[in-house]
Symmetry: none
Subunit: 263 residues, 2 copies
DNA sequence: ACGGTCGTTGCACTGACGGCAACTATGCTG
DNA sequence: CAGCATAGTTGCCGTCAGTGCAACGACCGT
């Protein structure tokens, strides 16, 4: 049996989409069949047929000249309907205000498996950094944003999520290496209402985060602000409180009522 | 024979995604397996399995409480990483048409910091696309394109972006020298849906611009047409309306849906 | 406890995907 | 212009993965 591995059918097509969203595809206008076959490890004939089907569905589009493929209109239409997008639309004005107040970049993050995904970045108007509002980069859950998103988890759930993958945060000089230690930190964050990080994710970088809750009360996202320690360090706890208030505003717009029914 | 038609594998899964993008799914938090089976005409067992695979790939997400599915972060990421690239592609043919109609050059502009960068220029004859994203000239935000790109900003944000750098447009005989004046102009443009300039950036030059929005509703670029006043002047408002319509076409291809974010 | 709905799982079947190879088209090189 | 290389499509057949049915477990309200 020469076939390396047989993914669950559809997962392979996702690989195609990922390849079409890669930097290489961005640099050039798109990607051809053979290149896509290389990138995904599939047969070029399969790639040809799969792409034809995908193009038929509008997921990808083809340039009639190059015969190169790119992501299609339907994907963008779908992306507009994701919860991440709804969140971003509600949170963006609040984040803009925060960015203006602190003159730093704020991020909107969601939790995916063991990673934190930055969905939206808002920089103050005069930021010198490029608009790196990438959707993709995923960080380990040793950031304040990640820990804030874990606030609702029980120790058992933390174990399920992180298994025995210790140390949790790789080789960084982090104080929390095991799940029990993470529980302690998360508990403190829960009582505070916000979380902070002090060079735990990256040297010289500090940050604060606060959870956004949906109508059910679940922490669905986190607002984060991070910056070099010498700039934000002294104001870190103030930033945390402001973030908590801002996150509360967003949560309210999502239908979250702080002290819901009952007790 | 219950089976209506058998699409090419993934096409059926696209039906699922479409159902998850429906208004019904947006109103409620998500959709359950049985409902999705009804909407797509598939077996519920198949829907269950297919969704499990899709969730595994990150295309959809599951609410652990309801067991309901909703569109996932990966769609958002794919689209976010590709919009910049797609922008020039979908805008180019539209701009070519506009150039032909008006016999003038159209520009595609993006906002960076306090400057407007021209990314693509289309003349009735040929088109020049700027290498990388670095457009060659950087104009102050006193052009119609720049102001159109500022349509979503609040006065506070404008202050953050431009600080106290007055007069805003250098020594040119411009009517807007301060941020409050800029706010007035921007507000008018927002109501119009397009913006115009009359010798404000350069003597003898008039122009019109309209904003292009991506799938998340952000004004990511502006489509602009500028020419000597004696040629374009009389048709300037007509040009503005045409630009707004053209920009709407491009926005739609970027997944922009005019609907407001949430109830 | 009961019926009702929702969601998952087991299992046999078959048709659609998987790979190989032949074919066409285009471009580069001597 | 022949020759070679690369890109892309199509035909073919074996087999594997999706399909449908039905049984099962979970949950909810009366």
């Amino acid at each position: 049996m020469p076939s390396a591995e047989r993914g669950h059918g559809l997962r392979r097509d996702v690989d195609l989409l990922d390849a079409l969203a890669s930097d290489e595809a961005a640099q050039r206008g798109g990607l051809g069949v053979v290149r896509l076959a290389q990138l995904t490890g599939r047969e070029k004939s399969q790639v040809s047929r799969a792409l034809k089907a995908l193009a038929d569905a509008g997921i990808v589009e083809r340039n009639p000249d190059n015969l190169e493929y790119q992501l299609g209109w339907r994907l963008f239409s779908l992306a507009a309907r994701t919860t991440a997008n709804r969140l971003a639309r509600v949170a963006e004005p609040v984040m803009r205000r925060l960015s203006g107040e602190f003159e730093e970049t704020t991020h909107l993050c969601v939790l995916r498996e063991r990673d934190v995904l930055t969905v939206l970045s808002v920089s103050p108007g005069h930021s010198f950094r490029m608009p790196d509002w990438e959707g993709e980069p995923a960080h380990a859950a040793c950031t304040s944003a990640g820990r804030v998103l874990l606030m609702d988890s029980t120790p058992d759930q933390l174990y399920v999520r992180f298994g025995n993958a210790e140390p949790l945060c790789g080789e960084h000089p982090t104080r929390t290496r095991t799940v029990p230690e993470l529980c302690v930190v998360v508990n403190r964050f829960r009582e505070l209402g916000y979380g902070t990080e002090d060079e735990e994710f990256e040297a010289g970088l500090v940050g604060a985060s606060a959870p956004i809750r949906d109508f059910r009360g679940r922490a669905v996202a986190a607002i984060n602000i991070s910056a070099p320690k010498r700039r934000l360090g002294p104001r870190l706890d103030e930033a945390g409180r402001r973030l908590a208030a801002a996150a509360g505003t967003v949560s309210a717009q999502l239908g979250f009522s702080p002290r819901p029914p009952i007790a």
